[in-house]
Symmetry: C2
DNA sequence: GGAGAAATTGAAAATGACAATCAGAAAGCT
DNA sequence: AGCTTTCTGATTGTCATTTTCAATTTCTCC
């Protein structure tokens, strides 16, 4: 199994792009980062150690990660695109707390299977899907009863 | 079962808002409209008969519809928020063609049931969800083989 | 029916996330 | 090293959405 660094450098090479130190730095920060961060989150985090890396570069590089398949873009409807490192073996969807913003990942193979059946029913050729459950996390649900 | 007009006027009254002829006009156009339209779609449609209704008013009124539960906001990730009249009895999700933009509604009670199980597993209190399948509709899938 | 308070309207401007621009800098091929 | 191509980052542009604000309309209470 290729790791994410290899996937990215292979992609770079295959497209005739260049290996720059900014991209290397951003890739490292990306892999070390917790999931579900926005461009701004990563930019601010990087700026501490690397004040010379611009917002646009972070943005473009994250797009590259998504293109080559090591990141996926998330949109929870709050007007900010988030990213997460993508592990090809393990697809998951998300529970989002509408109160505190907590994000929990879940997998449910039976839902995946039913999705395929739905697609077949309408003769669609599915490329990707988005499945998010919004509500209150245990902590916020409890707090709201008080 | 209350109809959507009643739900809206009750909501207006309960919030101390006012019944204006613009809101009445927009509500009628909204109910007569096919699903999955953007603010701009409805604005342009209205403008033919009611050139005096502004974009901002259409936008604010659609937000009101969503607030009181007679509309739902859809976001298919193309940078435009869409709306659809919400029929409380009949929840559905969407298939979206990434090539031609065709939108098909589907229902799958077994998925809904599994979602509840997932929520229970994580002790989440679900308020709503988003479930969209993106891919090629039959026509575009066929065209791509050529 | 009409005065007064409060909400609404619509044109225009502001906002904010994202994308594009462009001149100077860096990378990589030979 | 020289040369060509890509990259960078500050800035600007874009576009849907939201806010502003003065004028208008609605609704309540006489």
């Amino acid at each position: 199994m290729m790791d994410q660094m290899t996937i990215f450098s292979d992609y770079i090479r295959s497209k005739g792009l260049k290996n720059t130190c900014q991209r290397k730095t951003i890739l490292e920060a990306f892999l070390a980062s917790k999931s579900h961060f926005s461009t701004e989150d990563l930019y601010l985090k990087l700026r501490k150690q690397h004040p010379n890396i611009g917002y646009a570069t972070v943005h473009r590089t994250l797009k590259l990660f998504a293109e080559c398949g090591i990141a996926s873009e998330l949109d929870f409807g709050d007007g900010q695109t988030r990213f997460e490192p993508l592990d090809i073996n393990q697809h998951h969807d998300h529970l989002v707390c509408t109160n505190c913003g907590l994000i929990v990942e879940f997998t449910e193979p039976r839902i995946e299977k039913l999705q395929e059946q739905v697609a077949a029913r309408y003769n669609f050729k599915i490329e990707r899907h988005r499945h998010e459950l919004y509500g209150l996390c245990p902590k916020c649900a409890k707090a709201q009863l008080v």
